[in-house]
């Protein structure tokens, strides 16, 4: 049996297919609550480091790290940014999890750098202030990073 369409119709149909693919790519993301969890954790650890004993900071950091290690694998793939669908894995950049974890690591380093700088500058609550500043950076910067990665998929 012969294919009953011409080139123009085939072009149009392929356009429809691509349009739907782009709709799904637009849903690639990390849930907002993940960034909120990180930001709150950051501020919390900053507070404990500022006003608690040294052992409490270690325990809080370990607990936060364990909670993050449990949660992150489920969400940082970018396939479940919306609860309404699961994006096919071949549509999502394989770099996304590594880039998000790299971002978190950079933010951790930045927290220490901020705390040392603020402390050297004579700030009274350097540890807490560093936690708040970087917590806000994580909350705002995280979604922006994901948006950049997502855009790189729209070729």
């Amino acid at each position: 049996m012969e294919v009953p369409i011409d080139e123009r119709e085939a072009q149009f149909a392929l356009g429809v297919v691509e349009q739907q693919r782009q709709q799904v790519i637009g849903e690639i993301g990390v849930p907002e609550w993940y960034w909120l969890f990180l930001a709150v954790g950051w501020v919390g650890i900053g507070a404990v480091a500022q006003w608690g004993p040294a052992w409490a900071t270690s325990v809080a950091t370990l607990l936060f790290g364990a909670a993050h290690a449990t949660i992150a694998p489920r969400v940082i793939s970018g396939r479940h940014g919306s609860s309404q669908l699961s994006v096919r894995s071949d549509l999502v950049s394989r770099r996304m999890p590594a880039m998000i974890l790299g971002f978190v690591a950079v933010m951790a380093g930045l927290t220490v750098a901020f705390a040392l700088l603020l402390n050297a500058d004579g700030a009274r609550h350097a540890g807490f202030a560093a936690g708040v500043i970087v917590g806000m950076l994580v909350f705002v910067g995280g979604p922006s990073l994901v948006a950049v990665i997502r855009r790189s998929e729209r070729w």
């Binding site: 294919v3 429809v16 739907q20 669908l85 699961s86």
Partner: protein, 109 residues
Amino acid sequence: MVGGSAVEPRFDELIHPSTRLSIVALLAATDWADFAFVRDRLEMSDSALSKQFTTLEEAGYVTVDRHLENQRRRVRVALTADGRKAFDGHVAALQSVLAGNPAGTQAVG
């Protein structure tokens, strides 16, 4: 990119109509999607979309899973292996038409 080079081109009459092609293409990019997501993205009414899903389900191209979640009824739709194969074959057929080589393409439906 859609439709791998190893896929046999098969023009599928059931998938080809624009509305159904949109539905299948949307589902092909997902593991599953909520009925509401498909409805909102394609700006269709519940009844029109249900009708299309019934046709696709009868052809064995989609599965429709109805369940309760937090006391709310959710309908989750996914492409079956047959549906994905048909979609990939259809896309390959469209590409072969564009490449000016529809002769080796089968038509089904």
